[in-house]
Amino acid sequence: MIVVGGGLAGLAAAMRLAEGGASVLLFSTVPVKRSHSVCAQGGINAAVNLKGEGDSTQEHFDDTIYGGDFLANQPPVKDMCEAAPEIVYLLDRMGVPFNRTGEGLLDFRRFGGTKHHRTAFAGATTGQQLIYALDEQVRRYEVPGRVEKREAHEFLSVVKDGAGRCVGICALDLVTMEVTTHTADAVILATGGPGMIFGKSTNSVNCTGSAAAAAYQQGAVYGNGEFIQVHPTAIPGEDKLRLMSESARGEGGRVWTVKDGKPWYFLEEWYPAYGNLVPRDIATRAIFKVVFELGLGVDGQPAVYLDVSHIDPKILDKKLGGILEIYEKFVGEDPRKLPMRVFPGVHYSMGGLWVDFQHMTSVPGLLAAGECEYQYHGANRLGANALLSCIFAGMRSANTALAHAKGLDRSAAAADAAFTDEKRRQAAKNDEALARSGGEDLWQIHKELGEWMTAHVTVVRKNDGLRATDEKLIEFADRLRRAPLGDTGRWVNQVLPFARNLDNMLVLARVITLGALRRDESRGAHYKPDFPERDDPNWLKTTKARHTDAGPAFEYEAVDTSLIKPRARKYDVEKQSGTVAPAAAAAGAIG
């Protein structure tokens, strides 16, 4: 079995595969412990109702569907929410140092888009702590050789047999620059999100979406690409936008700006039912309105205050220490004393490779799990559901891969030719990139890509801007052919893999942009002022993009709303309870 990606989803998959008796080859561009999951801060949702608030997995399910503006297929989301308590308990057994109550139980805090304390957390570096726990379990399997790691390897493509089934992968060794091929009964992509397409985001350097884009170009369908989450509170920076977790508001932090010489808590005024804990798309649009429409950014700058200075510093250190340190180190001010200056930043892709409920992509034998697939978050992800979906999806995809391998007809095993051909094709692409010459600059092209995508394909989308962006994307791809790499060496050449990534990012950027152009409505994170309402009759549909040489071809699929009837989504008033259809046959949670 091959797992590509060593973040939470990939490690969860590798662990479950090894436990199921498979031998696993785990690919990652970085030592897996350094994957982007470390950046997740606030926590992981599980409705265990340890605060006596009457929370339930059903309520978690309803909040998630409602928060996602009804775009997610409901049955897998229900399964995820039902599995959440078991997943958090499993992590607890693995030794994750979750914060505790006085009785020694797991502590839970509030997060956006819910009224319950549902988020388990380890300080404000929960993602780091969860990935370490999974990294440790995978290392345990590494000792007897059940898992072998191929770190410093970049996924280039899948290898398909004559019947179109995925039978392995082609990878680039980032040290020797050799192209290698590897066979597998099944391949699980767990390669994360595409934040780098937007230039600066809260994502890590390796979150380019390149692997998913490569699979897409080999026939895997991409789902709901246009749904990109912009997190309301990040610290602007030249190299990246550093996240200031929603947990700051979960612990009582308030967002404000100055109006008429006084603090104005606009989220609390506009959304009295949820206040500072409205979902991210809502908070982000509110901040945009304050800054750009009302001209009330702090000191005339694109910034508002995120304020925790009224909270006891001892509690802050215990529950939010990790993020406050980030603010202190990078901004040089103490948020225990002064309000933080923040602004929205691209954060997460709800869209990703289309998968069926068991995580198989449209290419048989190729699975996807985690942020690189589209399944759990609809049009907007609720905070602290990402870590959950990564682990749930990783484990479920591993179960599917094991079942797939069992039923595999190996008589039609791919001829070696499929591997030789794919290797030759990828080596030729490398040679083409290394031979590029001309007056263009690939770093400049990446910068312009980020600026265009951020300006036109994030918070506020207009059709003329989207059209112009798509034209630009085509132009960028053309310019890239004339952008020499500046390093043609064959030893730890970092420009070559970035150039390959950038080729793929431009392809995926078109899927995102054209998906947004076509969707004439507003839903979750996708907002068009010219089409301000959600339009269920026309657009309660999953976007499915297929690659063609002429660009993405789109088709649409009905959303499975069999469990909760779609209703208007509002956060200024209390949420009406969802009409829940009788439960379908309960799927085994994490089992």
């Binding site: 436990e19 970085v30 030592p31 412990k33 350094r34 982007h36 470390v38 950046c39 078991e86 308990y89 499993l90 607890d92 057994r93 693995m94 030794g95 140092p97 979750f98 914060n99 505790r100 109550t101 009785e103 020694g104 139980l105 797991l106 380890a122 570096t125 780091q128 702590q129 370490y132 726990a133 440790e136 379990q137 290392r139 345990r140 000792v143 890590s204 350097v205 920076g237 030249e238 190299d239 990246k240 550093r242 996240l243 215990k318 990790g322 980030i326 180190k329 990078f330 600059d441 770093w443 500046g486 390093d487 060496g489 030893w491 730890v492 970092q494 420009v495 949670a589 994490i590 089992g591």
Partner: protein, 251 residues
Amino acid sequence: MSNARPHVTVRILRQDAPEATPRWEEFRTPYRPALNVITVLRDIRQNPVTVDGVRTTPPVWESNCLEEVCGACSMVINGKARQSCSALVDHLPDPIVLQPMATFPVVRDLIVDRSRMFDALKRVMAWIPIDGTYSLGPGPRASEETQEVRYKLSTCMTCGVCLEVCPQVTRESLFVGAAALSQARLFNTHPTGAMKKSERLRALMGPGGLADCGNSQNCVAACPKGIPLTTSIADLNREGTILAIRDLLTG
């Protein structure tokens, strides 16, 4: 402290490959407020021309999260081993001097091979021996006090700074170093992890183990996460002594 300057001067110790001879190269890049070393390196990468006007290859370095939680971007900056993402130009002298960490074999330029650290985690069995990933209910209860101790130890990002500053860790020595030792303590403090406590301690009795610590205390001073590494080592020493006496008595 603000160190605004007309431009940023950077000296980098370059090395093309593990066996190649290192060389210094100097660059000048545009100054902007709030730059960090990563951004300066990116400027150089985009325009890799030395102060002498010679076009060279773009320097290479490791980085990922850029917010000091992944541990990738460690290097020696003006003589101090640290993360380059949180090294702000406004707080650094001119020129900025960048070198790879010397304890580890250089792969290329500022990239070093830290695989010995991950191998050490295997040696100390840095994991909780769970029975399986199936549903077995919650883990053991823990006090807030224990959680705080364990959380701090668990923020170790295997960045290598503690090994770089340790006089006992060299490319030749077997000493596992403070990071792995502190991880052994982390797992010994968990009720389930403690079931393997003796094995962990015994694994640290032999060559390259606890006895190799020279108590210079450099590690604890250099750790970017403020992990009480020397407290961990003292704790393991104490536990190790108890175990040794017990082994002696029960022969």
